[in-house]
């Protein structure tokens, strides 16, 4: 698919930035406002899906190739598992120990501030990275690999 008309391309070139920014906002403020890692990650993936629909598959893969998306996916998963395991390094050895909140932010009044809640914003970022990259991969795989598959069957 070579992409859509020039109207769709122009409008999507403006809106894709806003959608991406909104996704980043939803991920970063997940511990203060509704949203969080999963919803923000899907919005990040949606901005790339808009590129895929408007400009065609080659342009979207030039921006974020399948290899890069897979590396981001693995990096997000590893980051989340590492955050969970870091709790073991501190005194009370427990999985998912909120070490930043309990050790460093305990005495401070950080309620309703951006830097608060310890590991929760970090875990939100990890999950957003993971979900965004993996859902973009799924959309590219499901919607763009059909022509090659049918071409191989013909041979």
């Amino acid at each position: 698919m070579k992409g859509m008309t020039v109207i769709v391309k122009t409008v999507s070139s403006w809106t894709k930035v806003l959608i991406f920014l909104f996704g980043i906002y939803i991920v970063l403020f997940g511990h203060l406002t509704p949203g969080g890692g999963f919803a923000g990650g899907v919005i990040l993936a949606c901005s790339y899906v808009l590129l895929l629909l408007a400009y065609g598959r080659e342009f979207a893969e030039k921006n974020l190739s399948l290899g890069t998306a897979s590396k981001l996916d693995c990096a997000g998963s590893l980051l989340f598992a590492a955050i969970a395991l870091t709790g073991f390094l501190y005194g009370s050895a427990s999985f998912f120990y909120n070490f930043i909140q309990q050790e460093y932010l305990a005495g401070h009044n950080t309620a309703f501030k951006l830097v608060s809640a310890g590991i929760i914003p970090l875990a939100n970022i990890a999950i957003g990275l993971k979900v965004g990259a993996s859902l973009f991969m799924i959309v590219i795989l499901l919607s763009a690999f059909r022509p090659e598959m049918s071409g191989r069957e013909k041979e």
């Binding site: 899907v42 998912f96 979900v131």
Partner: protein
């Protein structure tokens, strides 16, 4: 309260159209209407987290389904329904409906959570001590990433495994083809 019944009526109508229509495109649009109304109901039930997740996942799933439908040659379903299959599904739905009525009779009144009746329930601890213990203003984020972080890790593992499976099944060339091309 009446708004939920109105939305539910629209949801049921959209579901029936999605099943009954012959055109695949209008069927997909009706599935999208069901998702949009569901998201609106979550919003009216004071669950904005679920509403946001529902609407964005619905958009992504609809895009995939639309791409798959448009790339097909035939977008109309032809042929008649099987009599036996229709009767069986109607009987199963009727049994589930009657069981659901029995279950709903035992529930507390609408708007009164069952956990608010017990002072030592887990949800009461989360609500009263969540902000001071975790520091997260959004109590949903505090629960899913701190109190119940293990569940979220399992969810991430499920998503990761399914992505690996999809990548393996939908790849362009097998490893043998790549090696023989070199």
């Amino acid at each position: 309260m009446w708004i939920f019944y109105v939305l539910l009526l629209f949801m049921v109508i959209a579901c029936i159209i999605a099943v009954q229509t012959d055109n695949l495109l209008s069927s997909i649009i009706c599935v999208g209407a069901v998702g949009a109304i569901g998201s609106l109901m979550f919003l009216l039930l004071y669950a904005p987290d679920i509403a946001i997740t529902q609407v964005v996942v619905e958009v992504l799933a609809l895009v995939v389904m639309l791409r798959v439908t448009i790339s097909r040659d035939i977008t109309f379903i032809t042929g008649d329904r099987e009599f036996f299959g229709t009767v069986t599904s109607i009987v199963i739905i009727l049994i589930i409906f009657l069981a659901g009525i029995e279950v709903f009779r035992t529930l507390p009144a609408f708007g009164v959570p069952v956990f608010s009746q017990f002072s030592n329930a887990a949800s009461q601890t989360y609500i009263t001590e969540g902000l001071t213990k975790t520091g997260a203003a959004n109590i949903v984020a505090a629960i899913i990433l701190d109190y119940r972080g293990y569940d979220t890790l399992g969810e991430a593992a499920v998503l990761f495994t399914s992505i690996i499976g999809a990548t393996v099944i939908l790849r362009k060339e097998t490893r043998k083809q790549v090696e023989s091309a070199r």
